[in-house]
Symmetry: C2
Subunit: 338 residues, 2 copies
Amino acid sequence: MNRQWQLNRRPVGEPTISDFKLVTGNVPARVAENDVLVRNRLLSLDPYMRWRMDDAKSYAPAVGLGEVMVGATISEVLQSQTPEFKVGDIVAAQGGWQDYAVVNRKAVRKLDVDQIAPEAYLGVLGSPGFTAYAGLMKIGNPRPGETVVVGAATGPVGSMVGQLARRTGARAVAIAGGAEKCGIATSEFGFSAAIDHRAPDFAAQLAKACPDGIDVYFENIGGEVLEAVIPLLNDFARIPVCGVISQYSGLASGENETSLNRFMRDILVKRLLVRGFIVTDFADIREEFDQTIAPLVASGEIRRLEDVVEGLEQAPHAFLGLLRGKNRGKLIVRIDDD
Amino acid sequence: MNRQWQLNRRPVGEPTISDFKLVTGNVPARVAENDVLVRNRLLSLDPYMRWRMDDAKSYAPAVGLGEVMVGATISEVLQSQTPEFKVGDIVAAQGGWQDYAVVNRKAVRKLDVDQIAPEAYLGVLGSPGFTAYAGLMKIGNPRPGETVVVGAATGPVGSMVGQLARRTGARAVAIAGGAEKCGIATSEFGFSAAIDHRAPDFAAQLAKACPDGIDVYFENIGGEVLEAVIPLLNDFARIPVCGVISQYSGLASGENETSLNRFMRDILVKRLLVRGFIVTDFADIREEFDQTIAPLVASGEIRRLEDVVEGLEQAPHAFLGLLRGKNRGKLIVRIDDD
C-alpha cells in the first residue's frame, strides 16, 4: 500500500495539522515507458512548501486540494522502463510526501552513495546547497575581507552560504533563532559571529557584529531581519534574494503586507534585478557615450527639449518650479551679463 | 562683480525662496597654476540639487550654509593657467550658481559648439543624457519588443531613455505630469504611449498602456509611481534606479518614509544590486556546483547538519515545526517500511 500526505485544505496564515490528510491507496502497478517506480526513503521538508499550499501566483504551480504534497526525495528504484536506471539504484527524485512514486527518467538523477551520505543530496548537495552556491557565488560575489550576512544560518542554505563565504576569504555573520542555533553556527559552520534575531536588541547586536558594514546580504528571511540589515549595507552591496520565509505564512492572510515586503516577494517571484547607480560610476563608458550620441545630437536624430530661464537671479525660483514639475524639458539658466 | 546664490538655510520639506541668498562679491583676481577662471554662461538646474541642500549622508557632500549652490555650467574661459585651455574656449564645468568661477583643469572639458548647441551639453550630452544612457543600456539592457517605462518623461533623463529605448527596438511608455507633457512625450520623443501620473485612475491607465507588462522600469521618481509599476513588472525585469525625485523634499522631514521608500533611497545612494533568483534559473552551472562541492562533502570539508524525523506519518508535524524554526539543520523525513 502507498501512504500519501495530501493537501486537505488551504491554510490561512500558519498551517495546522488538519490542513493535511493521510490517505492510503494502491502502489502504482503499471509503469509506462521512460518511467521508473521508486520507493521513497528520505523526504526533504523545505519552507517553500508552505508557499505551494496557497493558490497564489508564484514561480511554480500550487498543490491542488486532494493532491499529494510535493517534495524532493532520495529513493530506490523498484521497477524501471528505461535503460539508464536499474532496480536497486539510489536516485534523487521529486517523489513527494508518499511511500511510492512513478517518475519520468528525466526527473531522476542517479546518486553516488559510496562516498557521500544520501542525506547530503537533500541538503548541501541538493537544491538548498545549490541555492546557496548559485546565489552567493554568482550574485553575491563575495571578496576576501568582505562581510557576508545570512539568516536561518544553521539551515541547509544558510550554513552553506556561511561555509562558502568563509572559503572565499570573506567574514561570515550568522543570524539564527536562539542561543543553541547561534552556537552551532559558530562552532560547526565557522561563522565569525552569530546573532539571535529574537533578542530585543537584535539590530544593535547585528550592527556590533558587522563593524565594517555588510557587503553581501543573502536574503532568505525578509521582514524585520531585512529592516535591521538595510542601514548596515555598504556602498555597492549585493543582495541575492532566494526566499522570504518570514512572509510565507502571511501571504494569503495579508499579514505583514508592507510595501517593502510585497516588493521583496516580487523581486523573488519575478527574479527582478534592482540596481542603484550614480552617473559617475560609469566613467569608463563616458567615451562610448560621447562617440555614440554626439553625432546623433548634431544630426537631430536625438531630440532635445530645453526650458531656458533668463538671468542668474531667477535660479532659485526656477529650481523651485523644477521640484514641482513646472519646467518643460531640461531646465537651464542663461546667465546674463550683469 | 560676481553674483552668487548661496544656501541660506536648510529647508525642511519643500524649499522656499528664502532658503537661498543672492550675494555679490569680487571676481576672483588670482588664478593658480592648473586652474582656469571662467564666466558661466549657462547653468543647469537639476533635481539632485534639492538633496544637496540637506545635511544628510549621500553620495556627494552637502552644500554648506553660506556656500555657493553647486551646479553644472557651460562657461567661457577668461583666464587660463594651463596650456590645455585658452581664453575664449567654451567649456563644461561645475561652475555653480554664480557668474564667475575658478576651476581646476581636470574638472573642465572643452566643447565643440560648432556642430552642437551649447545647451545640449547640459542635457542629452551632459550628465542627464549620460545617466539615461548608462542606466538604460548597461543595467536595463532593453531588447527588441520589450516594454520600457520611464517617469519625468519629458525631462532630460526621461526623454533620452525613451529615445534610446526606441532605438533598440523596445516600446517606450512615458509617465509625465499633465496632458501637455504627455503630448510632448509622444509627439516629440517617440513614446508609444504617455500616462499622466496625476490622473485618478493612473495605475489602471498604466496597466492598459503596458498590455505585455513592463520589462525595464527606469526609476527616477519613486513613491506612488513605483507602487503602480510593481504589479506590472515581468519576470526578469530590470530596474535601474537613478533617482527618487518624489522623495527628495521629504527626506529631512520624514514625509513618505515607508520602508519601501527608505529602501529605494538606499538602493540609489549605496548603489545596491538586488536580484531575486530561483535555483532552477542556474541550471547551466549545476555541473560546476556538483564538481566543486561533492568532493568537499565527501572529505568533510563542507559540513552538514541534519535533523532526521522518523516516519512518513510525521511529515506534517515536522513541517509545521520547520515553519516555526524548530528544526536544527536540514529537515529530512526517513520513510520507514510501513
